[in-house]
Amino acid sequence: MDKRELIAKRIAKELKDGDVVNLGIGMPTMVANYIPEDVHVMLEAENGIMGVGPNASQEEESLNCIDAGGNYVTTVKGASYFDSAFSFSLIRGGHVDVTVLGALEVDEEGNVANWMIPGKKVPGMGGAMDLVVGAKKVILAMEHVSKNGAPKILRRCRLPLTATKVAKTIVTDMAVIDVVPNKGLVLKEIAPGFTLEDVQNQTEAHLIVSPNLKVMEV
């Protein structure tokens, strides 16, 4: 299975019936494809849609129905629209249950860096800072190491932060890790084919092994 597919599938299992969920651009968006049939969630797009549906077919394309990545989308039954101020009232006010985002770095305190690389890439934070601060549960969807093989799960983030102490669960192609406040990173699941040693070797942060350590199932 493709790494990204694995991550998206595993995250889909975290969603509960009735959850309001915001999926970031890229890998997080793929989560929508794997949500179990008996779990009904409302996907929110921070540009103003509650109840995002599948991408629009060419005939349905409308600039009045785009998601936060600029894709033409449809809406599900029971959807609604609102403006940016209301949308971020929902987000900041704790009315979004889960946000799934990518990350460049995460650390033992749950600090997240995902919006800029100084001197290189400054795309702006968009809605990411509001989402990680406001959502009840922040799930990071990330490959375990960078393209150069460098760890991304660190003792302390080195890149400019998106927010402090917000990550709750980290899902990578190697592991599922929970951030436990005042404790650290608890390794809960290891992807098939990897050993505990493999995971720790690719992780700069110290991992506390859960007494219920399991094989990641998707």
């Binding site: 540009n47 103003g48 009045n64 403006d83 101020a85 971020f88 990411a128």
Partner: protein, 218 residues
């Protein structure tokens, strides 16, 4: 009463050297493409401040505006889709201030609502807090963000009546509603104009009293 129906050229004449202009839209959704084009083609105002969520993509007129050398300051939340804004930021040709998307929306709302600013937890512990006052309220920390206003707002709607009441459909509401409250002169680009009385009062997204000029496109 004086008619609010103007040509794009007439409407954008309001923009003067040194003005702050707000431009609605989220990427191509709800972006007042024709008004920005008219500003580029028929008005030579310079030293502009542009307030816009994302400064668009390279297919949009706002990309050309950013590139025109007439913009000295940009307030936005996401500029990853407009590399020209990033270039101006890096080179120092323009001052580019980035804000979390919800903060940007709320700053504009605050300006339009006569409030003194925004108290938000978003941005704390990040470079967004640099140079800003922090307040502890009921045991929690908040960042104080200043209100934003503009001389002229360019917004986009689907339908207007001759009094300027606007209907903005779907995800195109985004920043267009708050911007209509926060500028001295509000120009609405619309696809359709109907006589007064033909828009159901329950469906109005922007009351006509906020709109100074209506420009029909297409």
């Amino acid at each position: 009463m004086k008619s609010k129906l103007l040509s794009a050229k007439e409407a954008v004449e309001k923009v003067k050297d040194g003005d702050a202009i707000m431009v609605g839209g989220f990427l191509a959704g709800g972006h007042p493409e024709h008004l920005v084009n008219a500003l580029l083609e028929t008005n030579s105002a310079k030293d502009l401040t542009v307030i816009s969520n994302d400064t668009g993509t390279k297919d949009l007129s706002i990309f050309q505006l950013v590139k025109s050398g007439r913009v000295k300051r940009i307030f936005a939340s996401y500029i990853g889709s407009n590399p020209e804004t990033g270039r101006l930021m890096m080179s120092g040709e323009a001052e580019v201030k980035l804000f979390p998307q919800g903060t940007l929306a709320e700053k504009i709302r605050s300006g339009g609502a006569g409030l003194g600013g925004v108290l938000t937890p978003v941005g704390l512990g990040t470079i967004v807090e640099e140079g800003k006052e922090k307040l502890e309220i009921q045991g929690k920390e908040y960042l104080l963000e200043m209100p934003l206003k503009a001389n002229v707002a360019f917004i986009k709607a689907d339908k207007a009546d001759e009094a300027g009441n606007l209907i903005i459909r779907g995800s195109s509401r985004n920043f267009n509603i708050v911007m209509a409250t926060a500028a001295d002169y509000v120009i609405a680009e619309v696809n359709e104009i109907v006589p007064i009385g033909e828009i159901e009062p329950n469906h109005v997204n922007v009351p006509g009293v906020l709109v100074n000029a209506i420009v029909k496109v297409g």
